[in-house]
Amino acid sequence: MIPFEYLRAGDPAEAVAAVAGRPGAAFLGGGTNLVDHMKLGVAGPDLLVDVSRLPLDRVEETAGGLRIGAAVRNSDLAAHPLVRERYPVLARALLSGASGQLRNVATTAGNLLQRTRCPYFQDVTTPCNKRVPGSGCSAAGGYTRYHAILGASEHCVATHPSDMAVAMVALDAVVAVLGPGGARTLPLAELYRLPGDAPQRDTVLEHGDLIIAVELPHLPFARRSAYRKVRDRASFSFALVSVAAALDLDGGLVRDVRLALGGVAHKPWRATRAEAELRGGPATEDAFRRAAEAELAAARPLPGNAFKVAMTRNAVVATLRALAEEGR
């Protein structure tokens, strides 16, 4: 029948070797995205290397931070006492994603590497540069409600669907990778790519690279952090836009801030311009608005998602306002 193999890896090195040695191989984590894509015909790996039972399922305290194993389930991570205490933005982001059943299965690394929900990407009867490079982008000129307003290209206007990753990007998370050439780390923000002319590549990872952990650095003010997800349903829907923020106040001034946006770009969008605008300035609604507008000055909305500019701006203001009020 359909050519297909399944291998349960015994350790990370075996998993990496198995995938690296076969161009059609893929890692299988929780399966919530890949198994779906295999049914839809979006993905057709000839070898699945199951990494969901590798001993990468622990959350460990490091020097003030956390090291999260790649196989830690989303629901376990959201419920972890240290996450809830030190990084509430991450717990909230996790709980706002998908459903209880999916969070029970989805892994940390799998969540980071989930692919876009662009409906054209998921439908093999329509052209899509991300799925079939060079075939064209159906979303441009099509249904773009959930698509990008920042950093898109003529080849792809898709967004990254993860909530968790938005919080992690805001928290300056670092990814530990084991590849055929050995181990390395890189900032999560640098893991993701903008689509450019190669939208088939979501990340900078090479074939055979396996994420084995995510490290969250020491960030004391993240105890006052929040995740705001704006969506079409009260639950179980992808973000129209989302905001991950942590705010460090010094009286009425912003001493430091972390801000990232979801649902607006091909990657979780670290709002560095807005952060720069905010640092050292007053923690007022006007300042929050100006910062959001500075970040969104580069927005290039599509005909079907122009509303996202105002929605993102308002969501940023509302999130920072709530954090500032919490701090008073």
């Binding site: 029948m1 297909f4 198994v35 779906d36 459903s99 059943q101």
Partner: protein, 199 residues
């Protein structure tokens, strides 16, 4: 490949499983347990919810190989502790039970509390989402240390779509079941703690 899996407490073996099959398919088509339903095949509706090693999952998105050596409990496994499988388990037209007033199928007192409360509260309509909801609600109640708040119940069940009931009676059923389960647990604690009971 061969898949060994404990289902509803029994060891089961499925042979010649294609690696791309889902756990849902293995349960329904190979092991004769069609309680979990296939409604969307992509984790978007919760109709296929089963326990896998004690946590609830959408069986449609679990590759068969991932279930190897694990414990699965389906909706069939909640009543009377064990499922009946194969042959005759699936009623065409239910016959009334002489002991139950007009009620067909198993008697109410043989059901799990969550199942019983779904019937009593009128939380069942077409019934297609019901098996998944029953398992998810069962898990919510079993894992909570108290009767959950309404908002917690709504969010915990948000991954189980229902097109018939409007969810209100499902909420009633879960509240009722949670209250009974926790009351029973409290009563048992009281009995086992010396001096903790009124009597």
């Amino acid at each position: 490949m061969r898949v060994n899996v404990h289902v509803n407490g029994e060891p089961m073996v499925a042979d010649d499983v294609w690696e791309g099959e889902s756990l849902l398919y293995v349960l329904r088509e190979r092991l004769g347990l069609p309680g979990a339903k296939n409604a969307c095949e992509q984790g978007e509706c919760g109709s296929c919810t089963v326990y896998l090693d004690g946590i609830t999952v959408c069986a449609c998105l679990v590759a068969a190989g991932q279930a190897e050596g694990r414990e699965v409990v389906t909706v069939e496994g909640l009543s009377e502790g064990r499922a009946r499988r194969r042959g005759g388990a699936h009623d065409r037209n239910p016959r009334p039970d002489p002991d139950a007033d007009g009620v067909a199928g198993p008697r109410l007192d043989r059901l799990d509390e969550v199942q019983r409360c779904f019937v009593e509260a009128g939380a069942v309509q077409c019934g297609f989402c019901t098996p998944g909801l029953v398992v998810q609600a069962h898990s919510l109640i079993a894992s909570a240390s108290r009767v959950p708040e309404d908002a917690e119940i709504r969010e915990a069940l948000a991954g189980n779509l229902c097109r018939c009931t409007g969810y209100e009676k499902i909420l009633d059923a879960v509240r009722l079941a949670a209250a009974r389960v926790h009351a029973r647990a409290a009563a048992e604690d009281a009995r086992t703690v010396p001096g903790g009971a009124d009597d």
